[in-house]
Symmetry: C2
């Protein structure tokens, strides 16, 4: 998606070790106009998969998931990383490594909001190692829901996440693919 | 706002101790259509305050803030509760008590995204004790920014947050006010 690629080119920073800083428009400061356009694009890409719910992980998945949900007219569930007191005692919980936190984090969903038979479209900001999305897949499967698609804003193709998720046999769409971040550069896959 | 009040009436739950469970449409599962309508209403209420940026706190402030930012054409900054590795070493940080977590949490903003002279509209999901919003006010003031308004989805008037914030002399708008949650009920202020 050209608008997102342009923005990464102008404002994204390669911090080394595969860390792409996009916190000026995605995950600390957010550009709602850009996120709205990304949501519209996901809605177009996934128009025919029959999704009944959008699933993401807090925190930085919320903005693109919310905009996608708005354009598709679907509710959005974000997996929590700590269990709030408003959640029932019995939950779906899995562990996933966090790239930016350098440790394992919990992903928790209340059974109230993910039921058997739902058709789940997973939306997140990054597809890197695929570990967070694989965690969301496990949660949805534990709930008896079906995953029908995976969409991410930015895929770092050199981290191998797609190979991890491909065996699911699902459509995986990334709005922008970054092929390499060696030598301080950000090289897009055209 | 009638649509939000109706939703609280039909799906909100009084869990006791002043805890209002709205995680079926605001803060675990999110209804993007309802949040979009709330954002449009905030944009209408704050159309003339000259805001240049929306400020909120992760996690549950993000949805209403993002929709407000979309309708006002403004960037949204959400204060982080832990410092990611993409953030510079020198940050604005304050502490605020979390009602639902039962402990103090950090609120952190990068100086990259909140500058002196900005006119900040604070949007959050709840106005209860006002402690989180007061923390956001401190962060904005530390950055030399001006607060120009405060908007929340749901105000629990019996927790006194408005009295804490009134000395700021700012417009404070809540889309729905809950006057009492005694005896297991949810009593709206008409």
């Amino acid at each position: 998606m050209q608008a997102l690629k342009d923005r990464i080119r102008s404002e994204g920073k390669n911090l080394g070790h595969g860390i792409l800083k996009v916190d000026g428009f995605i995950n600390h400061q957010v550009d709602p106009t850009l996120m709205n356009a990304c949501g519209a694009e996901f809605a177009r890409l996934f128009a025919n998969i029959g999704a009944t719910k959008i699933l993401t992980a807090e925190i930085s998945g919320i903005a693109p998931a919310l905009m996608t949900g708005m354009h598709m007219g679907l509710p959005v569930v974000y997996a929590r990383k700590s269990k709030p007191i408003t959640m029932p005692d019995q939950v779906y919980l899995t562990l996933a490594p966090s790239h930016t936190k350098g440790r394992m984090v919990e992903l928790i969903i209340s059974p109230e909001f993910l039921a058997g038979g739902e058709k789940v479209l997973i939306i997140d900001d990054f597809l890197a190692s695929g570990a967070t999305i694989a965690g969301l897949v496990r949660l949805a499967q534990a709930a008896g829901a079906n995953i029908v698609g995976i969409g991410t804003l930015i895929e770092k193709t050199f981290e191998g996440g797609r190979a991890l998720l491909n065996p699911l046999g699902l459509p995986i769409e990334s709005l922008v693919c970054v092929a390499s971040m060696d030598d301080g550069e950000i090289v897009f896959q055209e």
